[in-house]
Amino acid sequence: MIPEGPSPVTSSPLQFFPWMSPSPGIGSPFPWLWELKPEERGLWLIRLLVACANHVAAGSLENANIGLEQISHLASPDGDTMQRIAAYFTEALANRMLKAWPGLHKALNSTKISSVPDEILVQKLFFELCPFLKLAYIITNQAIVEAMEGEKMVHIIDLNSCEPAQWINLFQTFSARPEGPPHLRITGIHEQKEVLEQMALRLTEEAEKLDIPFQFNPIVCKLENLDLESLRVKTGEALAVSSVLQLHSLLATDDEVPGRNFNSPPVSKTRVLQMTQRTFGEWLEKEPVHIYNPSSDIASSPSSLAPAPKMGSFLAALRALSPKVMVVTEQESNHNGPTLMERVIEALNFYAALFDCLESTVSRAPIERQKVEKMLFGEEIKNIIACEGGERKDRHEKLEKWILRLELAGFGRVPLSYHGMLQAGRLLQSNNYDGYKMKEENGCLVMCWQERPLYSISAWGFRR
């Protein structure tokens, strides 16, 4: 029973809380929900999300289900930023919960049609709408040009070759070199053949226009399956590697940290319903609390690096090729925590900033924005939250960890030049990108949205 009045929330708490009670029958939303101001609704969403994630992490799927139900009244992929974020996060959480019933999960996902043109489009949209990729390309190219000063034969390995503009820019810089352009070879790696065909076409066309001796070698495969022999690096050529948001997928590994509860057997539904206030404290104690050693947080001790055998072997093989420069662009957030809650919180912060950024940059094209949000960010969020083991590819890590990993693998840091940063700054200014910042940290660059670091770029060479 809801009392009338200007603020319908002047009800007694007992009437207030039954909305939250797990007992069935109270499913319809109370009207006062709709009277929530956006800010309050946003705060509610955050609380509900975290609470729901807690339940999922604890394996109490019934409670999580209720949580999802409640959030569904407030979240929406068409609403304001927080509502949209909540929509994607709940989808990811639901996905995760569904994996407790593997048969169900497989059945629901069996007829999915993945459309390659759509995926290509989304990547293109992200490239065009936000400056992050453009900045990454500018800085990468600048680092390559500087490292290749005086070189006559240059071989570039592109770990995710999907945007021709990246290399066209490099062509121009190279052709303006006083000593003339080098003999250029680009090996592009991508999972889809069509993308590489497009790349080859565009790039050879541009290279001809600029009169640069050029060769494009496509390699259609997943990065983790890459056989470095197939790169066919020749002696005498100077090697450069460009990795834009790719390296983290190699951190995926099937061995997990022991003690984690993924897919713990669903708490019997009856247990939840029987919970009284008396057993509440006990419930808390029974809840699998994950006790972490302080050293397992983001401290920079080598022991804190999550083991990643694939990464180790890949980096070692790369190092053996003695590249002159390797430029690594990665998301600046820790989405590789061993527990779900860690990842949820970090992801909430990261994607909140990213969604804000997208919202502010793309105000007039809601369809495009929604596509990027759903097909790019939404998929990443799903992967971070719902997947585990080898399936979880979006294992973003912070710059300090990358530095550790790369140094362990025998790479030495090459400071990024001021010149590159200048160019990046010019790009931001010339297109009125408001709110974006570039910060320099120890020779690496960090792209931020309103003080929140989002992407980091660093350059590496081999240590002799």
Partner: protein, 452 residues
Amino acid sequence: MSGEAFSLPAASIGGFIQDPSNANPNPKPNANPAKKKRNLPGTPDPDAEVIALSPKTLMATNRFICEICKKGFQRDQNLQLHRRGHNLPWKLRQRTNKEVRKKVYICPEKTCVHHDPSRALGDLTGIKKHFSRKHGEKKWKCEKCSKKYAVQSDWKAHSKTCGTREYKCDCGTLFSRKDSFITHRAFCDALAEESARLTSVAATSLNFRNDTVNLPHGFAGRGVQDVAGIPQFGSGFPQDFSGMPAPGLPEMVQMAPANLFGSSSHFPGFENGGATSSNSNNLSLSQLPQGLKEEGRNEGNLMESLSSLYSDNQNKQSKANASPMSATALLQKAAQMGSTRSNPSFFGNSFGVMSSSSSHTAPTFMASSSASMSATSNNLDKLMLQTGGKPSEPSLLSMHHPGSNSFAQSLTRDFLGMSNDQSPRPFLPQELAKYAAIGSTMGLSQFTSSNH
């Protein structure tokens, strides 16, 4: 005569390039008859005699050599005077009385602009220096800055001013040029830190004043929030990325040499992307005032504090699109409320609590919450440690004394629906937010830690 110098009347040279139709040896067809005291460089007197000297001649320092002692002199007059010392016959050439034909010189280097007689230089010393500078080897080096010069006089002139005039950034870097100094300041971390510090100092001073109002907490944490009721906010700070004062920016843009722009301009969508959405800023801002009005109990103070926050921040970093409506701001606010209130997760656990809710009265709720307090605050501690966040120690400890917590008291009161003198509208959004703050603290404390 030392070798290869030769002079041709301008006509024959002009003939290669233009129509030799006129006897008048014009270096260029459209002659400027008016005689100027000093021509612009490379625009020679039309009826001057064009002289082409060989590189060797131009670079030769001492053309006149004494036969006896082989000493070299730059001028014939000096050689003659020297010859007197050897008792050799000497002759000083007098300046000829008749009209001297003006001589202009062209650069022997074919690719050079001044190779063309119409762009000849009027001075022998000038052409010599030009040739050294452009086509010669740089043998003179400045000690301080290791800049190299081909002509000694250039080198001397530079050494005099090198290091005398400098610009110094707050971060300690020195610049000799104004433009590079200004560019640097755009990126300087030290400047950004300092302005951030100043901003947060201004914000924290506001915190103390408005303890009970939530909004400034959310603002203060970042210092880059928008302020209510100032719709033109978004458009006022277009170039926030650099954090520089506006006048410096046009210089930056002008500095850009063309080829650098060329490299970045070829990205196909680069110029088209990223429209600023000051419109959306305004929309979200206009929603703000409503929320603010209801949120703040001390409304007068709120607006006042916000406006002073605004004026403090005005000269510092930009706040384009940082309204509290943004998801990041909401998260920070949630974290702030969670950590400052430091409530155990009443709410999140109330799922279970309220299942048999109808018969419960407030005191028993309190009892349960106190029982859970230790457990939840344990978890809170652990999780806070884990993420490296700063646990708000004093308030956490206070939670271990159930009932002494003022919030718990008010909770009791509110539960019973008693009218409070404190809060005339107990379950307003403000309270809602409080309750919202109770929810699942496990996660809340981590909000603040994940942003560096």
